[in-house]
Amino acid sequence: MLSFSAINVENRRSRVAVVGAGIVSPLGSGLQKTRHSLRRATDCVTAVSGFDVRHCRCKTAAQIPDQHFLAHRQTNRKNARLHRASHMMIAALAELLEHDPEFRPQVTVIGTTSGGMSFGEDYYRALHRQENLRRSPEWIANYPPQKPVLDAQSEFGISAPCFVIANACASGTNAIGRAFESVRSGKYERVLTGGYDALSELVFVGFDSLQAATPEKCRPFDRNRSGMVLGEGAALLALENFETAQKRGAEILGEIVGYGISTDNHHLTQPDPSGSGPRRAMEQALQSAGCGADQVDYINAHGTATLLNDAAEGKAILELFGKVPVSSTKGMIGHSLGAAGAIEAVICLLALQSQFLPPNINFREPDPDLALNVVANESRDAKIDVALSNSFGFGGTNASVLIRKAAA
């Protein structure tokens, strides 16, 4: 078999290194805690505490206690007004910059779906009750989706122009993909990318109303899967032209090598059952990397555990990759929407660094229609050089990124 780098030479323009990462997820704050929790197959799903779910089918989510991302923060008047999504982003950026203090992005590309939605909810409830409206201006000012990105940048004296992608649940992967293409094409040398989303009542009830959220455990790719649980978090990656990163002696955590995007027009909320949309995104990612399907060692699936998503994605994975190990980490951390792609890309990076396959927990029985090689319930040691991360969302948006282990 040809080596990966040999295949890539023709296709690739600039190589794109990951020189820093930061993460806040239900698995914990920081790369180390995240790796540890992944290896232990930690189930982070608990009863929802932030709002009333008595009338919902689903009553659980993977939530992050505020102290996990506020621990190191100075509290002042300005910070007290920020949305918790801003605090998550600040914590993720702090970790990234701690790893690579020299990294200064020329542009920032971040995915989200709902920005500071809970502030919108606070504002609407206050209006409805005609009380506590004094806080309205701060809710309104801190509600827009770009605000947590700007807050995080501002905290560290960064003022790079921000592109905030809202491609539903594919947002985080789309953001990484756009950032990758920007560096690869030579447009920029350094791009900050990732995604964030904080749990909110409106979104929670929305998925519940669609009966996409489960009252049971989230069991991706299981025969008896019954839906998703929501999650939250933020994850950031520092992308840099490989050569300039090497020249300045930056530690390279991995490489983004391919990106694919497709749209399927089947339905606003349901994937085309043929799996054609996900398949096109994955094929494009392979093509953009100049990589064969047989060179992919691990797939971090979108795997929401809804009947339709897993069926469509599973079909596409089987057709393209056959028995490559697959897991969805959403059983552990829930579906964090705009953050999902970014969190899962970081999970892939950790898997590549530490040579293990993250587990697909709550898996009891294989789906007879999906003969996938699911990494069931426990993490496994494995030799992996290339990982694929998938994200698919409402509106038929599909995105895949290919990540390669850093050369030793």
């Binding site: 000012a141 770009q146 789309n174 749209t263």
Partner: protein, 372 residues
């Protein structure tokens, strides 16, 4: 490669269609304000709304059956831009067409209805039909389905500068070969909730006229609609340069970012289509223009059309493209006197270049330069 504008579509409170709206702007027309009642009927707001007929004549696509106003505006503008490009003999293959949809507030009406149900009657009353329409990328998804587009579709969110950022992203998709053509659409819909929010944010004026560059600023008038440009390697208007600008933490710092944007796209002979909307933005733009382009003729379309937030950047681009094509700018309505700026006069002819300065209300600013 050179990135050009091959087609445009425009849905505004002054009607639909680039030629129609442009003719009305040149005549000095301005939209008529409508009264929008607030939550309990005791409060009301004045704003510029799109006339109902402006989003008629859309294809009878099932996706538009329940679609919100923002999706209908986006579809109308996007389809018009494509139609205009095709009428100019541009061949646009759907396989190589990308879509970038820019928005700020999004589908406010359905989001409010959905959440109102939860607040009023509890989660059990939440509508599964409404929820998907609350997602930022719903309008882009509908338009992609109408067009049969299955390649790259991006929705980007931001403040008033988001339209320019959308054009920047689209240009990069073309320049890197990710697409041969890119349709950039920006849209916004008005709702009392937005008016209330901007009022509480102390940015709203109680009634027209919107007075650009007044000092102190007197507030803005919100509006709604959509703009679309089809970007391609062919077309009469060229995008010379785009500045993705930057961000400002405080309103008083906006001037520094607008300054930087004007420096990035500088051309002393160019006219400037500004985003002045009766808020702090005006003072930032006024000072930046005085410093960077004191000789430029300055025009803001916001008096006649209102502040359409996410759609406003593309509206300015359409104004700039029309001004270059017709070599004239509309009269500047209700502008403050003694600003030190040069506003359009009958005699002033627009040169071969135009700058769009887009400073948003929530910390972002960007700009671009067009030429013929």
């Amino acid at each position: 490669m050179s990135v050009r504008i091959a087609g445009m579509g425009w849905v505004t409170p002054l009607g639909r269609g680039v030629d129609q709206v442009w003719a009305r702007l040149l005549r000095g027309d301005e939209a008529t304000a409508q009264t929008i009642p607030g939550l309990d009927g005791t409060k009301s707001y004045q704003g510029f709304l799109v006339p109902k007929e402006a989003s008629n004549n859309l294809p009878p696509h099932p996706r538009l059956r329940r679609a919100s106003a923002i999706s209908r505006f986006a579809a109308a503008a996007g389809l018009d831009a494509l139609a205009q490009a095709k009428s100019g003999n541009l061949k646009v293959e759907m396989e190589s067409l990308a879509l970038v949809f820019a928005v700020s507030n999004g589908g406010v009406a359905y989001t409010k209805r959905f959440y109102h149900g939860i607040v009023e009657s509890g989660a059990q009353s939440a509508s599964p039909l409404l929820f998907p329409e609350t997602v930022f990328n719903a309008p882009a998804s509908h338009l992609a389905a109408i067009l049969g587009l299955n390649g790259a579709t991006y929705t980007i969110v931001g403040d008033g500068a988001v339209g320019i950022l959308g054009i920047k992203m689209a240009s990069e998709l073309l320049e890197t070969g990710a697409a041969n053509h890119c349709l950039v659409v920006a849209a916004e819909e008005a709702d009392w909730l937005l008016f209330d929010a901007y009022h509480k944010w102390r940015l709203l004026k109680s009634s027209p006229p919107l007075e650009p560059f007044s000092d102190p600023p007197r507030g803005t008038i919100l509006s709604e609609g959509a703009g679309a440009v089809l970007l391609s390697a062919e077309g009469k208007v060229k995008i010379d340069s785009i500045s993705p600008g930057g961000n400002f933490s405080h309103q008083r710092d906006a001037i520094e970012v607008v300054n930087r944007v004007l420096q990035d796209v500088r051309d002393q002979a160019a006219c400037i289509v500004a985003s002045a909307n009766g808020t702090f933005v005006d003072l930032a733009e006024r000072e930046a223009i005085r410093q960077e382009a004191p000789q430029s003729i300055v025009y803001s379309p916001k008096s006649p059309l209102g502040e359409s937030v996410g759609a406003s950047g593309l509206w300015q681009v359409i104004v700039a493209a029309c001004a270059l094509a017709g070599k004239q700018l509309p009269p500047m309505l209700h502008a403050a006197k003694n600003t030190g700026l040069r506003f359009p006069s009958r005699e002033a002819e627009v040169g071969p270049a135009a700058i769009v300065s887009s400073c948003g209300l929530n910390q972002q600013a960007a700009g671009l330069r067009l030429s013929t």
